[in-house]
Subunit: 343 residues, 2 copies
Amino acid sequence: MSTRLGVEADLRRYADLCRAAIPGYLPEAGGPVHLVDPVADYLGRPGKGLRPALCLATCEAFGGSLEDALPSAVAIELLHTAFLVHDDLADGSELRRGAPTLHRRYGLPLALNAGDALAVYALAALRRTRDRLGPALAERIAAEFEFMARQTVEGQALDLGWRIDNRLDLQPSDYLDLIMKKTCWYTTILPLRAGAIAGSRGRADIEPMIRFGFLLGAAFQIQDDILNQVADGGAYGKEPLGDLLEGKRTLMVIHVLAAAQPDDRARIERFLAASRPERTYDEAAWVARCMDDCGSVGFARAFAAGIASDAESAFAAAFAAVPASPARDFVRALIPFMVERTW
Amino acid sequence: MSTRLGVEADLRRYADLCRAAIPGYLPEAGGPVHLVDPVADYLGRPGKGLRPALCLATCEAFGGSLEDALPSAVAIELLHTAFLVHDDLADGSELRRGAPTLHRRYGLPLALNAGDALAVYALAALRRTRDRLGPALAERIAAEFEFMARQTVEGQALDLGWRIDNRLDLQPSDYLDLIMKKTCWYTTILPLRAGAIAGSRGRADIEPMIRFGFLLGAAFQIQDDILNQVADGGAYGKEPLGDLLEGKRTLMVIHVLAAAQPDDRARIERFLAASRPERTYDEAAWVARCMDDCGSVGFARAFAAGIASDAESAFAAAFAAVPASPARDFVRALIPFMVERTW
C-alpha cells in the first residue's frame, strides 16, 4: 500500500512522463508566434497531471505498457488544458496555477483560439493510438473520448445555467449529477476506461469504471471546491474565494442555503443573485465565514469522506480481475489522496 | 454549363440536403436547455451551405452517391458553425446572418461552450463515415480534417496577430498566405478532398484539389471582404463595415495603404492603430470612401477576377479524370458564382 508521500512521488513520475511526451505530439515546425506562445503557456505551468497519471497507471495495472496508453494520456492532458483555457474565459478567472489566466495575458481572441488549437492537438494525439493498438482499439478509445466530450459540454452548460438562472433550490444530488458530467467523465472515468482498454487490449470489462470513476472524481471535485474556499491562493494558484465570486453552486453553497438563519440566507441569496462585477471580495469573505459558522465546509469534508469510502469498494469491483502491482496500488492510493491533498 | 440561377438552385438543393440531415447527427435526447438552444441558434439561420454543397457535389462528380459524403458534409457544416461562433466572439461582432451574434444573445460563457459543443458534434458526425466507407477511408478523411483544423487555428492566429501587431507592411501575397490557412482549407480544399476521396473510394488523385481549392476559396474570401464593405447590411446580414471596424487586413486595406496620399495614409494608419472601441463608424466610412477614391475595391474585384480565371484551369486539372455530369458542372459553375454573388 502506497504512503501519502509514495502516491505523490508516483503521481509526479507518471505526470512527468506525459509532460515529457507532449512536445512530440505538438506541431514540429513552430507556426505563428500568436498561436505557439499561448498554446505553450499553460503547458509550461506544471499541473498535478492527475488525468494522464490515472490513465497510464490503469493501463499498466491491466497488463499494458506505458506506451500503449501514452497517446490517450497526452490527449486527455491537452484536452484538459483546452478546457482550462475556455473555462477561465467563461468564468472571467484571473489566476491559474499562480499566474495570470491566458486571456488576461494574451487577450480573449488569442486565448480562445489557443484553446481550440489545444483541442485539435489533443485529437491529433489520440489518432496516434492507431499506430500502437491498431484501428479497432483506436476506434473504441475514440468513441470513449467522443462520449466524454459530450458529457463535458453538457456539464459546462448545466453549471453555467445554474448561475444564469440563479438556482437556489439545488440538492446535493443535483451537485453530484453536475460534477458527474462536468468533472468525472473527463477527469477520472475516461482516463480509467481508456487505460483499461489499452492495457487489456480491449478484453477488460470497463463497465465498473463508471462507478469507481464517478466516486473518485467526485471526491476530487469536492476537495477542489474546499481548497478554493480555504486556501490562501499561494499553493493553490487561483484567486482566493474565486468559486464564490463566480457564484458557483458548490456543495458548501447548497449546504449553507439550507442551514443558514433566515436573515443570513437572504443576504447569501442577494450575493448569489448579483452579477459577477457586483460581488465584492468582502461580501464573499462574509459568506465564507457564514459557511464556517454553519459547518458547511465540515459537511463537504464529511460528504467527500463518505464518497471516498464508497470508492474503495468500487475500486475493488473495477480492478477485481487485475493482479497486485505497484500501478494498481497507485490507483487505489489515489482515493485517500483525493480528499487529503492540499494542492 | 449552369446559369447563375441554375447554380443557385443547385447550391440550395445540396445545402438543404445537408441541413435536413443535421438533426440526425445531433444528440437525440435533448440535453440542457442552456446547451441545446445556443447550439440550435445559428443552425436555424440559413447560411449558403457552400461547404457541404461543394463536398456533396464533388463526391457525386467522382462517382459516389450523396450518402457517401454526407457525414463529411455535415461535419464541415457543424465545424463551420463552431468557427462562426468563436470568430464572432473573438471579433466582438454584433450581427450574424441578420440577427444578434450568439454571445450577444446568450452571453460569452454559453456561446463559447456552444461553439465547443458544435465541434464535438462535428467530430461525432465525421466518425460515422466509417459506417458507410469502412475504417481505412474514414481514417483518410479524418486525417484530412485534422490537417485542415491545424491550418485553420494557425490562420486565425495570423489574422489576429496582424491586428495585434498593427501590421502596416503587408503585401497581397501575405493576404493570400493568410486566407489559404484561415479560409481555403476549411471552405474549399477540405470539402473537395473529402468529397473526392468518398466519391472515388480513395482512388482519385486529390493533390490538384489544393490548387483549385485555394483559388476557389480565395475568390470566395475576396468577394466576402468586398461585400462586407459595400453591402448595406440587409441581405448580407453582418454589421456594415464590420471588417474595417475590426481592423481586418483585407486586400482593400493593403491596397489603400499603398495607394493613398501621405496625409490620408497617416489618417488610415491612426484608424488601424486605434483599439476596437476607439474606432468610430464615421471614421470607418471615411476610410471606405478613401478606398473608393483610390480604386481599392476595383483592385480587389480585378484581383478576384484574375484568381477566378486561374481557377478555371485548376478545375480542369483537378477534375480531369471525371466524366461530364451535372455535379461536375455545378462545381465548375461555382467559380464565377464566387465573384458574382451578392450574398
